[in-house]
């Protein structure tokens, strides 16, 4: 046998089984840009790049595992994962650590993590499962139940307070509802309702959240305070020009004008050093990633797989759009990382698990269709 004669090739074949090369290539390209950017951003903390590389290795492992799980099996995890996520969110309220004034972290043994991160996948998983079960005849009532299942974790996360993650989780859930076929009229009504609820929502926001939104209108009002992030990141992007200042030559970055330059504002570093051309490259890569994800959704075998894949694909888009919009000064400052680039293990793992799900959906696309 050929396989027996070439053990290396058989191992590669085993590893590559179920892995979608296109998706992986795009994601790794973005991640490579990320490591390069992090190297520049963390000139004073050399451990960061190695740390992120290690995070990447762990995330790839998680992706590989998930990619081998068929969607039917994933479906079985939907309800337990959602309930477990809710339980963890309650645990955060009771025992969570407070970091920077927000109660988001939960200790487990030696490490700690943010349960809200888990909801980014658990919520679309649950909603996809719910609508799949009721596929035969979806009624408006089902969408109302779906909305309630969405609202529960989102409100809990918003209360932590973690507006950024709440928005992302809400978006992920909304995409499932949208793809499940909620009527356009109902959608329009929801939109109006959403706009109308902005006023009371404003009252629920914390002072600093309100200030961040107001800052968007006039950042110069408080150059030392809340406006600082926006002013400095806009300068970084704008001064990058067409071709950028060159790798390791961003003055905004290296003179420490950019806050949070490893995490939420890493795009300012990228944009300053690689300019509009770099930004276009990144936009194209993200567009390809999202496009590939939507294509996988379009060809998916079951209703469940379709909804889940569509939601995950649009989740990548949301991350990228909200983060880049924030850095470029057209969206308020909320804590959303730039996908595959921002420093941080949990977010990276979530993204790659999402990729793994897409790959699993893609691999099993033909099983039922014939």
């Amino acid at each position: 046998m050929e396989l027996a004669r070439n053990p290396l090739r058989s191992l590669t074949a085993y590893l590559a089984e179920g892995i979608d090369g296109t998706l992986l290539a795009i994601a790794l390209a973005i991640a490579a840009l990320g490591l390069v950017t992090l190297y520049s951003a963390s000139y004073d903390q050399p451990g960061r790049v190695a740390g992120q590389a290690a995070n990447l290795a762990v995330a790839l492992g998680a992706m590989w595992l998930v990619a081998r799980v068929p969607p039917q099996t994933l479906m079985r995890f939907a309800l337990p994962a959602y309930l477990f996520g809710l339980l963890l969110l309650v645990a955060v309220v009771l025992f969570g650590d407070v970091v920077n004034g927000a109660r988001r972290w939960l200790h487990i043994g030696v490490t700690r993590f943010q349960p809200s991160e888990m909801m980014k996948l658990a919520l679309p998983l649950l909603l996809a499962w719910y609508f799949h079960r009721r596929e035969a005849g979806l009624r408006p009532l089902d969408f109302a139940v779906g909305a309630a299942l969405l609202a529960l974790p989102v409100l809990m996360i918003a209360r932590q307070p973690d507006l950024g993650t709440a928005v992302l989780v809400a978006a992920a859930g909304f995409y499932v509802i949208f793809f499940a076929g909620v009527g356009w009229k109902l959608l329009a009504a929801l939109g109006v309702l959403g706009l109308a609820s902005l006023a009371p929502l404003w009252g629920l926001l914390h002072d600093y959240q309100r200030r961040r939104i107001l800052m968007l209108l006039d950042p110069a009002q408080d150059p030392l305070g809340a406006g600082y992030h926006i002013i400095q990141s806009t300068i970084a992007v704008g001064s990058g020009g067409l071709t950028g200042k060159g790798w390791l030559h961003g003055t905004q970055t290296h003179l420490e004008f950019i806050p949070e330059r490893h995490t939420d504002f890493v795009f300012a570093v990228f944009s300053e050093e690689f300019g509009l051309l770099g930004n276009c490259l990144l936009l194209v890569l993200y567009a390809l990633l999202v496009g590939r994800g939507l294509m996988i959704a379009a060809n998916a075998a079951s209703f469940f797989a379709r909804l889940l894949a569509g939601s995950i694909a649009l989740m990548f888009f949301t991350y990228a759009f909200v983060n880049m919009g924030m850095v470029a000064g057209i969206l308020p400052v909320v804590g959303v990382p730039l996908p595959f680039i921002s420093y941080g293990g949990t977010a990276l793992a979530t993204l790659f698990v999402g990729l793994g799900i897409l790959m699993s959906v893609h691999r099993h696309r033909k099983l039922v269709q014939t």
């Binding site: 920077n100 004034g101 793809f179 914390h206 970084a236 704008g238 001064s239 004008f257 936009l283 057209i330």
Partner: protein
């Protein structure tokens, strides 16, 4: 498969793919929007932002404002600032901290307490922060480091302002102390929306006036525009908006009176609060033992912190407002007033005091064996008859007592301008219901009312509450909120803002009843339990002694017998006001575990009154009154 079902399925898939297409279009539009924004910033507005980035060679550096001073009522400085050099490390820029510190030790002296303090700061620090390793460098050390500077990346010498408390431990519980801004402090500042103003600030008030007047003392941060080179080093200052220093805070305290009061305690633990009845101004405020607030100024080192925090004397505990004690017999004048106001006794009511009071099966004993014989209301205060007040408490009932005492602020925070005030306990059936869980514990027993009458039982008040009650009584029922700050002054403009006395309430009382109780209290100092302490006083005064039983001995303290017996001794109390005709000062003194109030607490009150009214210094300062065993025949 039936065709209809298949068609349905296909139609559904078609609609889904339609939505996928729609989503794809939205994504493209959104990315196009981003592209447009990037194009606008990076091409259209590029020149503008490029020059802004170039201007960003100009770094905006916040300047921390000078903290305001704290002064006593005569302008004596109690807290000030001085400038000194510190050696600071920026941990993120140093690869091997331990080695760097070791090498620094060859250039400037670094003691092990500096190291341990630095490690503590490192553990608490936010990431981007430079931390002091050594403070108060000598000129020689600064020069030595400057010569070796090239060896130490990420280490800098900075000139900083330090807080100093020139009088050391004097009034330490009033002043409190400052400390480095913790993560929790940052969160609170962010909640208040003032974090930008604290950007250059390292220290914040942690206790006392330093904490409660933090926002007055802090000032407004300035901004300096510094031109920096490509490596980020400052080249020259281009422009600056000066910081506005914090306001000076002037206290109502007279520091000399404060010292006399503190010295009166000697080595003993306790508290004293003296008030001006007509305004609520705090004239002296003692909680002993105190602490040296200078220890906290550049981050307290762990050894000192442990010593302060773990001492059984609990020197960081502000006894005057956070310690609660039974008032003992100092409660009696208020009980007498309650009896008169509620018509349960008249000045002519007389009882026979056999030395005990029988209630049901129980016999409540008087502190004087054999009793005081025939006792009227006046004598009951002067000689401090327990039997009289056992009976009175029984006649009044707990609801009437609680209802009346509440007027004088017992069991409620006084509202003094310090943080951390305890509310104490004004016992009542309602309180018991709230306090306990078990139904049998929640019930109020009539027998419990009896000892309430002599200030024992569940009664638990802070010395500040007791002082406020005396001041209110001396001021004919007009209660003013106690306050430690008389004015806040802007050091630049010199404008002053006086803190106006704040009338809390007027307790409706009949003048002749108040007059009677005040006269009886004058009798205490003239011919009663306070007479010895007030012998030869050149002013009229009223007082009342008290002795409070220490309850709730902890099991685990039993092994050290000498210590236990000391801590089990009664607390000595004394309340006073003077002069009788128009009181200018009212006070409460408590000396822990010192036995009779007349012996341990009254002399401290005498020294305070002598100085405040006559300007007379105590004859033998610093000599603590001998603490004798409470075996002597003496009534409190």
């Amino acid at each position: 498969m039936r065709p209809a079902e298949l068609r349905d399925h296909e139609r559904e898939l078609y609609y889904f793919q339609l939505r996928i297409g729609f989503a794809g279009a939205v994504v493209l539009v959104a990315f196009a929007l981003l592209f447009a924004r990037f194009f606008y910033l990076q091409v259209v507005q590029h020149d503008r932002y490029a020059s802004k980035a170039e201007d960003n060679r100009i770094s905006i550096v916040p300047i921390a404002p000078n903290r305001g001073l704290i002064l006593d009522r005569n302008g004596v400085v109690l807290a000030r600032n001085y400038s000194a050099y510190t050696l600071e490390i920026f941990p993120a820029k140093v690869h091997d901290l331990e080695r760097t510190i070791g090498e620094l030790g060859e250039v400037v002296e670094i003691q092990s307490k500096d190291r341990s303090r630095f490690r503590k700061l490192l553990a608490e620090a936010r990431t981007a922060e430079s931390l002091p390793l050594r403070t108060r460098l000598s000129d020689e050390e600064v020069a030595r480091f400057a010569a070796n500077r090239y060896r130490f990346a990420g280490v800098e010498i900075k000139a900083r302002l330090f807080r100093q408390y020139p009088l050391g431990a004097t009034a330490s519980h009033v002043l409190g102390h400052i400390g480095r801004i913790s993560t929790r402090d940052r969160d609170r500042l962010e909640e208040l929306g003032v974090e930008a103003n604290y950007r250059g600030t390292d220290f914040i008030g942690k206790a006392g006036i330093e904490a409660s007047y933090q926002h007055e003392l802090h000032g407004t941060a300035g901004v300096e525009q510094v031109e920096i080179d490509a490596a980020g080093r400052g080249l020259r200052t281009l422009a600056r908006t000066a910081a506005q220093p914090g306001n000076n805070v002037k206290l109502t305290l007279d520091v000399r009176l404060q010292q006399i009061a503190e010295d009166g305690f000697g080595e003993r633990r306790g508290a004293l609060v003296a008030l001006e009845p007509q305004t609520g101004a705090v004239l002296a405020f003692v909680s002993r033992p105190g602490f040296d607030p200078n220890l906290f100024v550049d981050g307290i080192d762990p050894a000192n912190w442990d010593a302060l925090n773990n001492s059984p004397d609990r020197p960081l505990n502000n006894r005057a407002i956070a310690g609660v004690y039974p008032p003992g017999s100092t409660f009696k004048p208020f009980m007498a007033l309650a009896a008169l106001e509620l018509g349960k006794r008249t000045p002519r009511s007389v009882i026979h005091d056999p030395g005990y009071f029988v209630f049901g099966e129980r016999r409540f004993r008087d502190s004087k064996p054999g009793g005081h014989g025939t006792v009227d209301l006046y004598k009951s205060i002067v000689v401090s008859s327990d039997t009289f007040y056992y009976q009175l408490a029984n006649d009044l009932g707990i609801d009437a007592i609680a209802g009346f005492m509440q007027h004088f602020g017992f069991g409620a925070r006084t509202g003094i301008d310090l943080e951390g005030e305890a509310s104490g306990v004004l016992p009542s059936p309602q309180w018991k219901k709230k306090r306990f869980r078990q139904p049998e514990q929640q019930k109020w027993y009539a027998g419990e009312t009896i000892s309430i009458g002599i200030g024992q039982g569940y009664n638990a008040y802070t010395p500040a509450q007791l002082a406020l009650a005396v001041a209110t009584l001396a001021n004919q029922g007009a209660m003013y909120r106690p306050h430690l700050v008389s004015q806040v002054e802007n050091p630049r403009s010199g404008t002053r803002r006086a803190i106006e006395p704040e009338l809390v309430k007027r307790v409706p009382l009949r003048a002749e009843n108040v007059e009677f109780v005040l006269r009886a209290m004058a009798g205490v100092n003239r011919e009663g339990t306070g007479a010895r302490a007030f012998a030869g006083a050149q002013y009229t005064s009223g007082g009342k002694t008290g002795t409070a039983q220490v309850v709730g001995m902890k099991q685990n303290e039993k092994y050290d017998e000498r210590r236990v017996s000391e801590r089990l001794r009664d607390h000595a109390l004394f309340i006073a006001f003077a002069p009788l005709e128009s009181p200018r000062i009212a006070l409460a003194v408590l000396v822990e575990n010192s036995g009779f109030g007349a012996r341990a607490a009254a002399p401290i009150a005498r020294a305070v009154l002598d100085y405040y009214l006559l300007g007379k210094l105590p004859a033998a300062p610093n000599k603590p009154a001998p603490v004798e065993d409470a075996e002597e025949e003496e009534s409190d």
